[in-house]
Amino acid sequence: MTGSRFRESTSHRSGVRFAELLKVQARLALREPYGPLGGIALPAVLLAVFGFIGRQVSGNVGDTGLTIIDLWTPTILVLAFLYIAVSLPNTLVRDREIGWLRRVSTTPLHPAMLLAAQLILDLVLAAAAVLIIILGGALVFGASLHVQILPFVISLLLSIVEIFALGLVLVALMPSQTVASAVSGVVVFVLMFLSGLWVQPAQVGDPLQTIMYYSPSGAAARALLDAVFNGSPSYPALLTMVVYTVMFGFIAIRYFRWE
């Protein structure tokens, strides 16, 4: 009897398992839409706000040769990734806190699959945010894109990976959902500022400009800006993101707990 239980092809089984898990996780995400709201709705609203400001105050901001919507589009992208990334601790820390991850680990499904499903959904969400923001910025508000595909894709992927890794650091270190949401709030606020939401690095002097350029979110915004509007990647920004990604990845893996 026990023999026949294991005869079925395991790769097919795990495919079915994972599809079912993705479906359920997606439904749950829609019922608790921290990620979708923060990652799609908020950036869309900000895009509209900066788009309209850009129509009033046209022209050259801080001698960059770029308009307001040009400058803020990368910042809004980074902000979308930030909001999606901090929805990770919101669900995963809670799932750990209530014993759900532990419960799942008593079944043949490894709880890492839960994490994987959540990350895949969030990547889909990030991709949707990118489409909405880039298309919205260019078509609706006339941002002047000179996209070089390769630098753009590299900057985009690196930004997402770096910011998601930061989300996983929060998942690893936060003891409870309450603490996680308080800390995430502060982290998002600081990183929004550093990415240039209130004032762009191009508009401020040193040392603030340097701090912004070498912060996790500022480096991402700078790399995206250069890739989208200047047609060439900013190597210091890319390198900064690689360093942060490695650091965040190390901390997240080192301190991750299932229970």
């Binding site: 026990t2 026949s4 239980r5 294991f6 079925e8 089984r13 079915v16 398992r17 079912e20 898990l21 359920v24 439904r27 749950l28 019922r31 608790e32 669900t91 809670r94 799932d95 209530i98 014993g99 759900w100 532990r102 419960r103 799942v104 680990s105 008593t106 079944t107 043949p108 499904l109």
Partner: protein, 312 residues
């Protein structure tokens, strides 16, 4: 014979956290098809023991076999065979009852039909309710469904009825009995003695990380000296005569009443023995030993063991 096959064998299990041994040399085996109870005070090592059986924790020493497999080395196979209900484990608040059962079914190679299971456990009528809106009794039904949906040979239920009202507890009991009737072997961790007495075929009483008693509930209750007979003898009987009667452990006198406590079927043996000496007894009041008394006795005194005879 199928009925005597051992589903779980635990030998000299040791598990500690830091310098403290929570489980210190526990051995028992569980037969196919029985409801095996694990009782003991809080912190006795009950949960740690079953967590080692389910593979959630690795033992420090000793061995565990589940259907001939090691929960640590054969992780995935053992998880296919064992359904678990954890103490204090919740589901994501907005997961629906039916979704949870179907999701868990997808984790296993050979699951039960989720719809039939939802029907038979009475979950169908609330399958579209989200977890956070369920009542305590509904949550426990769902918990049982999740433990069963993988079609396990062994179900581990840890404090399943804690926090339930009496009606929900009785409903849960009948669900556990039906589980056994399906042929599932059940490990039931509980600190309710009435639950253990009613449901369990055999019990392990664990205290301070060791097994204090391992037998049927009746035998544990009786062996622990919980039986009590009170009577008025027609003429004075001396202490020695009473002590000589099989099973008598202690004697107490209050005015004309004599109360003896001891083990086994006490009343008939006392009455017969005294009758043989020509002593009649009147006003007889007999009380069978119950598990609760046995539990208190066995866990109160560290030195006591089941065979450890005299108690006062």
């Amino acid at each position: 014979m199928m009925s005597t096959a051992e589903v779980v064998t635990v030998q000299h299990l040791v598990k500690g956290y830091g310098n403290v041994f929570v489980v210190n040399d526990i051995s028992f085996s569980i037969r196919e098809g029985e409801i095996f109870g694990i009782i003991g005070p809080n912190g006795a090592g009950k949960t740690t023991s079953v967590e080692c059986i389910s593979g959630l924790r690795a033992p420090d020493a000793g061995s565990i076999s589940v259907c001939g497999l090691s929960p640590q080395k054969d992780r995935n196979k053992v998880r296919e065979l064992v359904g678990v209900q954890l103490q204090e484990s919740a589901l994501p608040p907005r997961l629906k009852a039916g979704e949870a059962v179907r999701l868990f079914a997808s984790f296993y190679s050979n699951p039960l039909d989720p719809d039939e299971l939802l029907e038979s456990l009475g979950i169908k009528r609330f399958e579209n309710s989200v977890f956070k809106s369920l009542s305590g009794g509904q949550k426990q039904r769902l918990s049982i469904a999740l433990a069963l949906v993988g079609n396990p040979l062994l179900a581990i239920l840890d404090e399943l009825t804690t926090g339930l009202d009496p009606e929900a507890r009785h409903e849960t009991w009948s669900l556990i009995e039906r589980m056994r009737d399906r042929g599932v072997t059940v490990i039931l961790v509980t600190h309710f003695m009435d639950e253990a007495e009613k449901l369990c075929d055999r019990l392990a009483l664990i205290d301070h990380g060791t097994v204090r008693a391992l037998d049927t509930p009746e035998a544990i209750a009786a062996q622990a000296g919980g039986s009590r007979v009170r009577f008025i003898p027609s003429q004075p009987v001396d202490e020695q005569t009473l002590r000589a009667i099989l099973g008598v452990n202690a004697i107490e006198r209050k005015q004309r009443y004599v109360t003896v406590t001891g083990t086994g079927d006490l009343a008939p043996s006392v009455i017969n023995a005294l009758a043989a000496l020509g002593v009649q007894v009147s006003d007889v009041e007999a009380q069978a030993g119950n598990l609760e008394d046995a539990f208190l006795k066995l866990t109160k005194d560290d030195a006591s063991t089941v065979e450890g005879g005299v108690e006062t």
